[in-house]
Symmetry: C2
Subunit: 156 residues, 2 copies
DNA sequence: GAAATATGATTAACATGTTAAGCGTATCAG
DNA sequence: CTGATACGCTTAACATGTTAATCATATTTC
């Protein structure tokens, strides 16, 4: 079998971890996890956004997002209301306190990103991202969710 | 600030998830999580291995590994003993039951990997992995965080 | 060789990932 | 209008990620 340390999932995991290792300390100093930061950044780029759409943009599953929004709301970093026309839907927006936090964290975050880009090369970085995007697209058109050999799902 | 859905960490996360989406169902059918599978595969390639080294190879943090080993041992998929010369160290090895499980899962896993490779292109996939590895190396020499062991950390 | 320190592994505590179930609201069928 | 169904979000339950603390064993220092 394939030398597993060279498998694609492991390569992607290790590389992502190598990148995040540089960002986490700064976020941590400001009391934010990686996911909380993703949410705040996503919110900063829109007026308001529905919960489901936010989950898609910040690439979080519903349950994780629910928990994190609860926490961010408690900390007054975000604000929520329901859609009047459809009471099931929730609208989320960033608070001014949240915006201030972003402005505080952004400089060091940008500096880290710039350092990484310089070190690896802007050209190569762009090329790498293109290849990642292409791979993502390739996979989205693969059948099933990996049920190789499976014919039909036994009811459970 | 950077359109955050195009940030490098997000790209790596999305791509990895796109890949894993295809593997998880098959693993799940065999009662394994992704991390448990990583451990079993790592164990299958050696006679025995120390816990710390296993953590490095399977790319898991100590606490996660401890919990998973406890579970895998309960399920008789692995075996453990301590190093006589240094009672602090633990040695882990895969059991025959664990080997059988691997042989059961491997075919569908290999099939999925082959499908991904065909779809994206073997050449491009190798190139992508080279670029990921290069990025990883670039980052390991960046100051600030991550080069644990490079210099030495002031005592805290 | 006893006290201090370091090391390997586990446990603790909290946040997130993951799947399933639950709850309220909306829509649809009759 | 009402029962059935679908939808949006949350909660539940369990596994893992992450950092700090703990425990036992080794090593060092005096």
């Amino acid at each position: 079998m394939r030398e597993f340390s060279r498998s694609l999932p492991m390569s992607l995991l290790r590389t992502r971890e190598a990148v995040m290792r540089h960002f986490r300390p700064s976020l941590r100093d400001h009391g934010l996890t990686e996911q909380q930061w993703r949410i705040l950044r996503a919110l900063a780029s829109v007026e308001t956004i529905e919960v489901t759409e936010l989950a898609r943009v910040a690439f979080l599953l519903g349950p994780s997002l629910s928990r994190i929004l609860r926490d961010l709301e408690t900390r007054r970093l975000i604000e929520r209301r329901v859609v009047k026309a459809d009471q099931r839907r929730g609208l989320v927006s960033i608070s001014s306190k949240g915006l201030k936090l972003i402005e505080t964290v952004a400089p060091s975050s940008e500096a880290i990103y710039a350092a990484i880009t310089r070190r690896y090369g802007a050209r190569k970085l762009a090329e790498l991202q293109n290849m990642l995007e292409a791979l993502e697209r390739s996979l989205s058109s693969l059948p099933g969710a990996g049920n190789a050999g499976a014919i039909d799902e036994p009811s459970e």
